[in-house]
Subunit: 469 residues, 2 copies
């Protein structure tokens, strides 16, 4: 029996996940628009045999423009460039179902999947906030339930588009002058509440069939959506107990939705802050906290909690009478996490801002490489995680440190691969993917998931049924 | 005084522009989805010191799926991959103003411009046809005038978005904790007939300010649009006289719109079919014509001319009573070109299909390298063209032949550069754009155009006014 292995995803974000990381002497404040920075990060992650890397995104410029690096290269564009600079690592882009059309987005992901040789993933988000809505002709953010209803229809259409070419639709019979087989093309002819999409996609079915489907909302609606569609889930969890509850809940929701619960991988986010001793790690963390501008943090917290400006006092507690989660139309599960964290640990506003500075609600693991590896192993073996979304506080140094010091321990313990399975041809796509050697794994294979069947193809009698993931 | 130089754009299309090219023994019928094929083509064009390369596009799968290679990698995705495989050549992607939103598209082009170091161009199209419309929730194609009205508003919004960051909006003051200067961010706050876009773009102003703006519709509305916005124009012209008229017309429309007529470059498309003798060239052309499936051609022609199926006879002429151009809601100028070509030369339907097989209405130049160079020089010097859109009938061999045999003649005659200006650092972006040597030219510089001023910045008194292109 094969041993259960940990999955690792590198969550890349300009100079790092800590809001003050850009102020360190080592940091490049223009990193967010430099391809070279991201190429370096991708190659570090590939050296650490990570399953994938990931870019967050939202179609708006945040109002805290003055305070920290803002804006970013569009993720699908950046990942396409990274596809040519790497060979194995999966490439997961965030894109919004609220502010895209299915035809254009399905095509872009299929194109990235082809160009990368089956390494594309989509972090499906519904995008909280009025700023984004106002960039797309709306006056206000659509309601939470409405956004998730649109997301579900978006996925149904996208799946039809990705299946609209059977894998063998191209005939290429030069002598007969027949290039394609019309009977293997299946136009969606979709007419729904949010979308009308008549025709087939204008790109063939890609190596993975379609990108790995990832989801990152943890509200009730978010979990229901994940149970139905997602193959991997990013989540922010502050305690082992919460993470175990979330894990069990999502697996059972997935089973209840008629899917194999092994086919959804749960990846909590962690911010590792490493030092050669615990004291050194804590000192590294302190340097970051010393660079936080607390007045900015207060304003941001007031906005998340939907409080009028000036409500919060830096050395006071959160008010007792905050609104219930159900009244929040924005990032619902993040709201609850922050409020519960503050109450559970009786944090002052200042302390809360310090705790959120690293990962905006994700757990910070501060310690020696052994301690970080222990924490990872504990969550992994005690039913809290199938792997982790690694969110270094400072980039590239934090990712380097993780790969140099934590990855070897995880490998020694047999938790992480020591090399990528499947070598294929040596070069990148640019040299042309040769047919020599064992083919490289697709992203979906690396996560231990089956290639999805095409909904328009009836499996031949007697053939093993391909699971709809 | 510097000599006027020819501009060359390589129009890449899977196995070539001739509809039967995929049937030749040398052709790879899967080329349209192979990155390696396009990398090879881009490098050939770069060897020929072309200004740029270009990908056409439409968001639909054509109904002639069975007959010839269909579908394609999404152009912005493919060009991003090509950006990392090339160093100098401009990268022009087609994208539709009818089926995109300005915020998303402006961001993608800005990202490509940054990643490519200032080499992005946008072929702005309004997309004819009901197939595309039905993939975006519409029942029918929007009217021709309506599409161009939307295109104009789309451009106004996109230009506001690209100018929404001043070039020096990033301050990066680590000590003070100030990353950006809010006063240098200019949210569009646009509310128009087709679009509402409130906020600034979430990516900084790119090396070129914005992509080179290219246009390719030649109807009256199309020309008016080009005169207002375009910096380069692709056009299909069948005779020197027509090309001269078009050229003069567009330059004077551009002047009448208050712009410098030198700041719009006219690039007719030509399909060069080359042989070492004229007879060999003609034989090469004949091989292609022999591979045309004429029944398919008839159906396609009936669709373009909006005639009921079965109207046309292969060895007859076009009917005399075709509808006027103004009644065509689709590709209006292409319709007129085809009808005029058939009437002028009294072509049978079979002959017309043969003539259109190569370039779908673009002129085929068949001959020796000298003859092709002569034709190019003639059009260039007699006021018909600022350069050409080179559309090889077969790819990659036709592009190779043009670069190996026609380019040297053009260089000897002093019509074409012998090397790219500006070498910059040696490697591609992936190695990081170093600051050594003369910086590489941007695409806009290569076309002899100024970097556009930012509409939100008043030029300092006494400084040379930066032209709005
Ligand atoms: C690791 C992680 C990454 C996320 N990345 C994004 C993102 O890039 N864009 C986005 O709009 N939301 C992102 N989210 C937020 C969620 O997708 C979701 O929009 C938010 O939590 C609100 O959903 P909910 O109300 O279901 O919790 C992310 C969440 C997590 C845990
Ligand atoms: C060289 C060339 C390339 C073109 N490429 C495209 C294209 O990729 N997509 C598209 O929709 N139209 C393309 N067109 C067509 C025009 O942009 C335009 O949509 C069509 O001619 C109808 O416009 P009109 O009615 O103004 O002539 C191209 C035209 C030319 C001359």
């Amino acid at each position: 029996m094969t041993r259960r292995r940990l999955h690792l995803n590198a969550f890349l974000m300009n100079t790092g996940h800590h809001e003050a990381s850009w102020r360190l002497p080592e940091s490049d404040p223009y990193a967010h628009v430099e391809l070279g920075h991201y190429v370096r990060l991708a190659r570090i992650a590939e050296r650490g045999t990570f399953d994938s890397l990931f870019l967050a995104d939202g179609p708006q410029l945040w109002s805290n423009f003055a305070q920290r690096p803002a804006g970013a290269l569009e993720p699908l564009t950046l990942l396409t460039a990274l596809a040519t600079a790497t060979e194995h690592i999966g490439l997961i882009a965030t894109a919004s179902t609220s502010y895209n059309s299915p035809y254009n987005l399905a095509r872009k992901f299929a194109s990235l999947d082809i160009i990368s040789g089956g390494r594309a993933g989509w972090n499906i988000v519904t995008t909280a906030g009025a700023e984004a809505a106002r960039n797309f002709g709306l006056d206000a953010e659509p309601a939470h339930a409405e956004r998730y209803a649109r997301a579900a229809e978006f996925l149904d259409v996208a799946l039809k588009l990705w299946d609209s070419w059977e894998d063998d639709a191209i005939v290429a019979d030069k002598a007969a002058g027949v290039w394609g087989d019309d009977t293997k093309i299946h136009p969606p002819r979709h007419r729904g509440k949010y979308f009308g999409v008549e025709g087939a996609l204008n790109v063939p079915r890609s190596p993975q069939g379609y990108p790995l489907l990832v989801q990152a909302g943890s509200s009730k609606d978010g979990k229901a959506f994940a149970a139905r569609y997602a193959e991997a889930v990013f989540t922010a969890q502050q305690t082992l107990k919460d993470a175990q509850d979330f894990y069990a809940d999502l697996k059972s929701l997935t089973a209840a939705a008629g899917r194999n619960p092994d086919h959804i991988k749960v990846l909590p986010g962690i911010v590792p802050v490493i030092g050669s001793t615990q004291a050194e790690a804590r000192a590294n963390e302190q340097v970051l906290e010393d660079h936080i501008v607390y007045t900015h943090g207060v304003a941001r917290l007031e906005s998340l909690l939907q409080l009028p400006a000036g409500t919060l006092e830096l050395d006071g507690l959160l008010p007792a009478d905050l609104p219930p989660e159900s009244s929040i139309e924005g990032a619902r599960s993040r709201y609850t996490l922050v409020v519960e964290l503050a109450r559970r640990e009786r944090l002052t506003v200042r302390q809360l801002i310090g705790r959120l500075g690293g990962g905006r609600g994700h757990l910070t693991f501060t310690g020696t490489p052994e301690q970080v590896a222990d924490a990872i192993e504990e969550w992994f073996t005690l039913g809290a995680a199938d792997g982790f979304n690694i969110m270094p506080a400072v980039l590239p140094s934090g990712l380097d440190a993780f790969v140099d010091h934590v990855v070897p321990i995880l490998r020694t313990r047999g938790l992480l691969r020591t090399a990528y399975d499947g070598t294929g041809s040596e070069g990148t796509e640019l040299e042309g993917a040769g047919g020599t050697g064992r083919p490289r794994q697709t992203l979906r294979e690396r996560y231990g998931l089956p290639r999805p069947a095409n909904q328009y193809v009836t499996p031949a009698p007697g053939s093993p049924a391909l699971a709809r993931v």
